[in-house]
């Protein structure tokens, strides 16, 4: 194992220095075990610069934005709007006005699904079809179930092949002239699969459908260019890309956002209000009713800056190296089956697996007593689990701070789990 480590190419340069940016990685847990954090697809850890930026904002610049006529108000507004610029630059959005702040990816996807129910050029109605996939996170399933149930439209979906890819043999029969919306995940949070979003978007656009992309697992790991992706609307969350919780993003093409009706009503989303009616601010403010999560947005800006300094190419290369190493190492454990593609090139950093004879909760508890944090359960992807005939799985997910030694610790922990439960 040691020989393999030293020859492992693609790790972030100065990984030990990068790890020092994340104070939590210094922690020890019960029993004196050092933390081995392999739950980054659930939420990533935060570098000191994000923590410091948020503390500094609260200590020195705190005020409400866009409505406080004083110096602090101006500073806070500038910090918030600078964060929007940073998001726009990070995802290569043509315009900062295409970046809508939400509280998370779920709210961003619900914003899309909700506004599509109302009159307008994109309205979904009876006889229309919405196409999703079987590998979606619940947050990209339930909003579309709600939309189609409420509008009398029909929900359809791509199936998954045995090797964990979308079954694209159905591409032309699923996406037809009846299709109004195609919504899919870029990178699966359970199977790790990276989906050919641009190819599916091309077909969707042939029939005039709107393309919504859940990029929650993609933005942390890939170099994202929203225009090249083929998406019309794209959602992600801040806390999976070293930012804080409570802040998400919906990016949308200007012409799409302009033609969607408002989502939530309230302060900041209006142009003028009378007792009879209101007119609305242009995007993005049209979709940002009420005081937004200001310090969270500022923190997200710092997080994306941090990732930008590391370089997303380097982050992606690191992820691929660790994922390849983990796939190989996990398969040395007797009775372990990886769900999803077995080649690192086809997947992101989340690896779900089964260990024969041990339930995922029991696996996770044993690992936890050794300081190893993984996720066990259905990972908010029950249909994808059902597709593979399993109720739940154990998932390890790495990130830019993960070392090969942590993967070794996981494998040793799994060997220990097998001996603890006296498995063959």
């Amino acid at each position: 194992m040691a020989a393999l480590e030293s020859s492992l190419e693609g790790l972030l340069p100065e990984l030990e220095v990068v790890r020092k940016d994340f104070p939590i990685l210094e922690r020890t847990l019960a029993g004196g075990h050092p933390l081995v954090y392999l739950d980054s697809a659930n939420t990533s850890q935060k570098p000191q610069v994000v923590i410091d930026t948020m503390v500094d904002h609260l200590e020195r610049h705190n005020a409400n934005i866009a409505r406080a006529m004083h110096q602090l108000g101006a500073e806070s507004t500038e910090a918030f709007e600078t964060a929007r610029d940073r998001v726009a630059a990070f995802i290569h959005a043509p315009s900062r006005d295409e970046v809508v702040f939400t509280k998370n990816a779920s709210e961003a996807l619900n914003l899309a699904a909700n506004t599509l129910a109302w009159p307008g050029p994109f309205q979904v109605g009876p006889g229309d079809e919405v196409v999703i996939t079987e590998m979606e996170h619940h947050s990209n399933i339930v909003p579309w179930q709600l939309l189609t149930e409420r509008t009398g439209a029909t929900l359809r979906w791509f199936g998954i092949t045995d090797d964990g890819h979308l079954d694209l043999s159905e591409l032309d029969s699923l996406i037809t002239e009846r299709t109004k919306v195609v919504s899919l995940t870029w990178v699966s949070n359970m199977l790790g699969t990276v989906n050919p979003v641009a190819r599916i978007a091309e077909r969707a656009h042939q029939v005039g459908a709107l393309v919504v992309v859940d990029a929650s697992q993609a933005v942390p790991q890939l170099c994202v260019d929203v225009v090249a992706s083929g998406a019309d609307l794209l959602a992600f969350t801040g806390h999976k890309c070293v930012g804080p919780t409570g802040i998400g993003v919906l990016w949308g093409k200007a012409e799409v956002l302009d033609q969607l009706p408002p989502f939530l009503g309230g302060g900041e989303m209006i142009e003028t209000v009378t007792m009879e009616r209101s007119t609305y601010a242009p995007a993005p403010h049209k979709f940002e009713a009420g005081t937004p999560p200001i310090v969270e947005a500022v923190g997200l800006g710092a997080a994306l800056d941090y990732l930008g300094h590391l370089g997303m190419d380097a982050v992606h290369t690191h992820e691929q190296a660790i994922t390849g190493y983990a796939l190989e190492a996990l398969q040395t454990v007797p009775g372990l089956t990886v769900l999803g593609p077995l080649s690192a090139a086809e997947r992101g950093g989340a690896i779900s697996f089964e260990l024969e004879g041990a339930h995922p909760h029991d696996v996770a508890t044993v690992l936890d007593t050794r300081g190893i944090a993984v996720r066990a359960g259905h990972h908010c992807a029950k249909p994808a689990h059902a597709r593979f005939g399993v109720q739940s799985s154990t998932r390890m997910s790495s990130y830019l701070y993960t070392t090969p030694e942590e993967i070794d610790a996981l494998v040793e922990g799994l060997e220990y789990t097998r001996s603890y439960f006296k498995l063959g």
Binding site: H361, D362, T365, D368, T369, K382, H385
Partner: protein, 148 residues
Amino acid sequence: MDLDSLYQEIILDHYKNPHHKGLREPFEAEVHHVNPTCGDEVTLRVHVADGVVEDVSYDAVGCSISQAAASVMTDLVIGKPVGEAMGIHGEFLALMQGKGTVEPDEDVLEDGIAFAGVAKFPSRVKCALLSWMAWKDATTRSLEANHG
């Protein structure tokens, strides 16, 4: 965190060889309970006659703790008057919610005392309670069905 305090031999024995498992007739009520955070599921039937829990049968998927808890629960409540069974339920609930500070009474909880260690693992308490909650629900419905 002491793994052996969680995974007592009694728990692992019940997990490997669960008692009273399978769905049986007769029954007055059948319920399906899930643990939405982890996906553990139990379908459970209760047969109550003359105020006594005559049978509890179940089909369940889940971790060792949830499976063993279902098995131990059936041992504890089958054959007991409903009132007494509900009392045992209350005792087990108090043990689970006690964060490890409650001393279990072996005369009441029998094999159920093995779950005392679970109370120190907050993320696993709901595993131990899933089938008990299902049983309480089904028993209440059985009583309503009997009186209806």
